[in-house]
Symmetry: C2
Subunit: 102 residues, 2 copies
């Protein structure tokens, strides 16, 4: 099993309404891809500030796939392309970390 | 629900045996804390390299808590302190991102 983990930092000028659209857009996108086993979406938690903790991201996305092949199908899925084109102008930075679970 | 997500980058000199000890140490630690609802541990997945993907970490850890209060109890749990003291010399960098899921 694989976790495809994406952190999105949003541009300062992104409005609450645009952020809400983006969050809904993530769900619509992920719901449309058969290879996605499950997903969770989040915003920074109100945990205490510590040197190692980064609360600066805008939205986090955790997507589970059965294997790398399914992840690769998702990456070239038309819905992925549509999602990126629709929302990329909102993003200041994107960090992706893919983990193989054991 | 909250995901406490930690990425560990290990020092170059860390041996495979030390890495195995560390991975087992994470499980022993998390198994000992009642507030942990579930967890997953991973290593970089063999997904394709892309500009936004960071495959350079050593070990990833995803820990679910019911709420911030439970996370805060975990942070000051004696097992947390013991875990950090035992393994911190292996770490080149630690990145923590805490998400409140919706």
């Amino acid at each position: 099993m694989l976790i495809h983990n994406v952190y999105f930092w949003l541009k300062d000028e992104v409005t609450p309404s645009q952020k809400t659209d983006f969050e809904k857009g993530i769900k619509d996108f992920l719901d449309s891809v058969d290879e996605v086993q499950k997903y969770q979406i989040g915003i920074p938690a109100s945990t205490p500030d510590r040197d190692v903790v980064d609360h600066s991201f805008g939205v986090s996305m955790f997507v589970w796939f059965n294997n790398v092949e399914d992840h690769n199908i998702y990456q070239v899925h038309p819905a992925h392309d549509k999602f990126v084109k629709r929302f990329k102008d909102l993003w200041a930075k994107v960090q992706v970390l893919d983990s193989e679970m054991f």
